[in-house]
């Protein structure tokens, strides 16, 4: 692709994760494209499902239904070799402001977070801020520890060892 030469400098590609408070987790990243493009990749299911599940996570997205408008619902179903049954993640879009902001609930548990993602356009680049607000501190702890908890111990240990190596 000829536009490949324009790919963003390394510093811009940093993904930052911050535990903003006892109940909030924030992930930020700047993309080298205007907000309407990043919004499109986030809000169209056929595009969304191509990036939301990283190959390294070992999960398979079985289905992806997203009605991205205020009051609309979503439902994502995943499978993982370590689980007998597929897992469903679902909720409602509380607010959808095109090219600017999406707010959704996570209703698979009563301790689910409310997620807000904002798209801030700045001179053709877009700062994406992914913000999760959990109802309690324990719920955030649970979510953070989740990757270790849901998997068999050896998977979690391997994960930890690899994280320690990098």
């Amino acid at each position: 692709m000829p536009e490949g030469k324009e790919s963003s400098p390394a510093a811009m590609n940093r993904t930052a994760v911050e535990r903003k408070s006892d109940r909030e987790l924030v992930v930020t990243r700047t993309f080298n494209a205007p907000a309407h493009i990043v919004f499109e990749a986030w809000s169209k299911p056929e595009l969304f499902k191509r990036w939301w599940v990283p190959k390294s996570a070992g999960m398979l997205l079985l289905s992806c239904d997203m009605d991205v408008r205020t009051g609309g619902a979503y439902r994502l179903v995943f499978s993982h070799p370590a689980f007998d049954q597929p897992m469903a993640f679902f909720g409602t879009y509380r607010e959808v402001t095109p090219h600017k902001r999406i707010v959704w609930t996570n209703e698979e548990s009563d301790q689910g977070a409310v997620t807000t993602v904002t798209f801030e356009d700045n001179a053709g680049k877009t700062l994406v801020t992914f913000h999760e607000l959990y109802p309690t501190t324990a719920a955030l702890e649970e979510a953070l520890a989740g990757s270790a908890e849901g998997l068999p111990e050896q998977f979690a240990q391997l994960d930890e060892l690899l994280a320690g190596k990098s």
Binding site: T15, A16, V17, A33, W51, S147, G164
Partner: protein, 121 residues
């Protein structure tokens, strides 16, 4: 660098597999507390809380110190490492996810530019 030996990992994951024990760690992250304080906060008997703290202590997630009749608990070295590891694991997931999004965004951008050029002709 591998920081943990396997025994440490086993103890660590076993200790962290319980919601109350994770709650205790969270509480200690805010302030040191006595076993009595913790038992009260988590609506638990003294004996029950002592057991949880003992599990955390074996995993080096908590250290305790007795002064008179009060045993004070504070975060152990490994608790701080675990917290950093959780955040790092989360960062790796998001990094991989956003790398994939980046590729799609670049592709859409090229496509939009190509379309705009076509229209100008």
């Amino acid at each position: 660098m591998v920081q943990y030996n396997e025994t440490g990992l086993d103890a660590s994951f076993a200790a962290l597999s319980d919601a109350t024990r994770r709650g205790v760690l969270q509480q200690l992250a805010l302030a040191d507390a006595s076993i009595t304080d913790l038992a009260g906060k988590f609506h638990m008997t003294l004996t029950g809380m002592k057991k949880h703290v003992a599990v955390l202590e074996r995993a080096a997630l908590v250290t305790t110190e007795k002064a008179g009749r009060v045993r004070t608990c504070r975060l152990g070295v490994r608790a701080l490492e675990e917290e950093a590891a959780w955040i790092e694991r989360h960062r790796q997931l998001w990094s991989a996810r956003f790398d994939a999004l980046d590729e799609i965004v670049e592709h859409l951008k090229s496509k939009e530019k190509a379309d705009a050029r076509r229209k100008r002709k």
